[in-house]
Symmetry: C2
Subunit: 81 residues, 2 copies
Amino acid sequence: MDLTARTAEQIGEALRRTRKARGWTQSDISARTNLRVATISSLENGDAGAKLATVLAVMAALGLEFRLVERGGSLEIEDIF
Amino acid sequence: MDLTARTAEQIGEALRRTRKARGWTQSDISARTNLRVATISSLENGDAGAKLATVLAVMAALGLEFRLVERGGSLEIEDIF
DNA sequence: CTACTTTTTACGCCATAGCGTAACAATCGA
DNA sequence: TCGATTGTTACGCTATGGCGTAAAAAGTAG
């Protein structure tokens, strides 16, 4: 499961996929973040207008963190050693 | 240079670091994104209220992309093969 | 110390995120 | 097939992001 994202749609997809992988509902995320289910829904559907705080809250609830990497940079040997 | 981020502050720092590494000014980013210099400044200083679109625009200008990874998950062997 | 560049902050304005609340639609299990 | 859970959409409301514009503050080279 590669969770690379350059767009709000890709971030939303990644969040939804992770949530499903955890077996959770949007309501579960809502409870853990104090965000409304509607907000989670909107975010998962790729709302680019969402606030960074909102994204970070959901990420935290899912136990995820961001890594900012060079575009297309798919695991080079220097990254390992 | 590890660009892992869980907070708006960390994202801002990562963006600023990358920009400096490219030898660019906020004004350069502004030109490439049509965002105001003030907006770039605010973002680099950790504005959690920033819009996702804003973050993504700056990321694109810097040639960066997001990777959503398990918290603390620092390169496990399964990620390589 | 002085000019120039870069970054930060301010003000008025408009657009919209996320809230409470609620209804509606879609998905799923028995 | 149907009841129930889950997800999407809507309305009015308040708060605030990012805009244009501008000025002040901080950093840098000479």
